[in-house]
Amino acid sequence: MADSDFYQPPSRARLSIIPIASTLIASAATALPLIVSVPAVPPLGLMMALAWRLRRPEMWAAWIALPLGLADDLLGGAALGSAMTLWTIVFLGIDAADSRPLWRDYWLDWWIAAGAILFCCINQWTFAVFTGGGGAFWPILPQIAFAIILFPAMARLCAVLDTWRLSR
């Protein structure tokens, strides 16, 4: 069907750029003109990356988390290498989960995302404390809860973007 007069596949650039660009924009959303005294906004970049990874398992190799995480560190001002390390570990973990013959559905994907968000947020905090900053632990708990509750909405947004990506 690729060479039909009616259907022309979208360009390769479009196919690969939209997921990466949307993740970067989600990471940069922490630069919104708000000033908060506790980390209140969920880690949108991580959620977007997870949504793409769970929706299109074949699209990205595990190493894609390295540059995406590095960009997230740079845009958000975290210690360089923290999101880079954590996201890659998460992506490798999801690869391991994919190789298990589990029945995958919406709920399991949500559980996987919840585990990943929990892991990343707690360890981001650990890294922040390790590099000489951060502070109390409790402010990140509502942030984690928000992120987990909002994940299906992010997956939905990702699905809309995916449909648009595949249309011409």
């Binding site: 003109p33 000033i35 209140a40 398992p57 923290s82 190789s99 951060g134």
Partner: protein, 292 residues
Amino acid sequence: MAPPRHRDRGFSRRIQYGLFFGYVGAAAGIVAGLALVLIARFDPLAFQGIRGLAIDLTAPLSGAGRGVVRGATEVGSDFGGYFGAIDENRRLKAELKDLRRGIIAGHVAAMENVRLKRLLHVIEPSAQPVTVARIVGSDLSGARRYATLGAGRADGVRAGMPVRGPDGLIGRIAETGSHAARVLLVTDGGSSVPLRVARTGQPALGEGHGDGTIELHATALGGQPFRRGDVAVTSGVGGVYPAGVPVAVVTSVSGELASARPLADPTNLDFAAVLPEAIVVPPPPPPTGRHN
């Protein structure tokens, strides 16, 4: 839905190698990432160039919409202000009367202070600001408490300089881009400011708590160092922050610790002045060799 089978190796050598090197790359990347975190711990100013570039890129994004957000916040508090306006009016009038008396006493004290200082030949370091700029945003989801300032190296801003707002101390420059800089707020866990309680002159150390408050530690023993409502100002000890900048007001006391709220409300910052780092004169080197 059955699990996705995309990571099946199949019989193609090319796909097998591709997968294998993908995993090797990811594992190497994790090691490299951990190394970067270690570097960040021991040399917080590493990679200034690329980090500064990222700040420069995101600052205009934040700056554009800041006015709108601030406007919305103010409308909210204006509405709230209508309720209880009479009570507030009465309270404020009483407070004003008290303050007038205080101001007169203050003027007298200031005059006396100037006279005594002239007598003692105390030289005050001038705290002419390096630059005044807008606070454009902050890190919303990270574990560190940073704000972004709309001035950078091109305006003379350097890492380490203290930053104050109209109400009090905001923090210290953590890293700079060429036209924007990141400010480590006093509420961040990595910030500690030498303070003095304005009422008693007792020295204290203010450490950020990461949840919007500052924890005050009394550095001198004995007595009741803090009282609710005490204002803490910078003491100038250590030579980073200039002396006498108000920092926080004590909200609760437990023994020799107190929890304080920063006077420069981080959610409502607009303009900030970057001050030069107070100069520390290094102690003279110990004499070497024998002098007979």
